[in-house]
């Protein structure tokens, strides 16, 4: 009985805080993406024929963890199979956040473009039974900065 109460409390806490945090984060992401829309980041390797640019390596990373409720849902999904939507939103948020951080760093340097953007995903904290506790997303690329004369 006690175990059940603990489980339900954890689920409720996870759902409440997790849902609130996700909503807030998405709002924040959309706002910042709008502000940085004039700084495109592309994954192309071919440089435009411009020469008066400085190159600088920029990167952004974020470690994000899944809440108890979502992990529970994912656990259920493991039985029935199918899309684990609760993890999809988590990774989507993390990727967009990482790209935004990279863009913010580039923006502070006065960059006009970010080239050859690469993404790296790794699970860094393994919880019980090797379930993914948190993931790190890294985004990096080369910022092109107009030369100052």
């Amino acid at each position: 009985m006690i175990d059940l109460i603990i489980l339900l409390t954890l689920l409720l806490l996870g759902y409440g805080f997790g849902h609130y945090a996700e909503k807030k984060h998405y709002k924040d992401i959309i706002q910042r993406e709008k502000a940085l829309r004039n700084l495109p980041s592309v994954s192309s390797k071919v440089l435009p024929p411009i020469t008066q640019m400085d190159n600088e390596l920029v990167s952004g990373n974020v470690v994000i963890s899944v809440d108890y409720f979502k992990r529970f849902l994912a656990g259920l999904r493991n039985i029935f199979g199918g899309r684990v939507t609760s993890y999809e939103t988590l990774l989507d948020r993390a990727r967009r956040e990482a790209i935004l951080r990279m863009k913010e760093q580039a923006h502070a340097m006065g960059a006009k473009l970010i080239f050859n953007v690469k993404m790296e995903t790794s699970s860094i904290y393994k919880g019980r039974r090797n379930s993914v506790g948190s993931v790190e997303i890294l985004a990096y690329g080369t910022a092109l900065i107009p030369k100052q004369h």
Binding site: G14, N55, V63, S134
Partner: protein
Amino acid sequence: MILTNLENITGKRITKHLGVVSGSTVRAKHVGRDIMASLKNIFGGELKGYTELLHESREEAIKRMEQQASSIGANAILNIRLTTSSVAQGAAELFAYGTAVIVEDDHD
């Protein structure tokens, strides 16, 4: 030192290739952070401590790569790649590698 993950540098010409350079660092998190992380695993959200730790370690790996490159006389590193792998529980290896080259201004 010019760092880029492209294969060439705008306005520069590669005069000499010096081979692959790399830098790595293995970091572990202290217990306090692990406890915070397990709490966050209930509530969800960003683990700021880990984000910072990994960011700093990555800078360290890049710095070591730069040192290696400058010791063999390079002035730029091209095609940099960054990788992460968890070696043991609670520890991660951050690895950076790239091609060290000597570049000079292209006057054409």
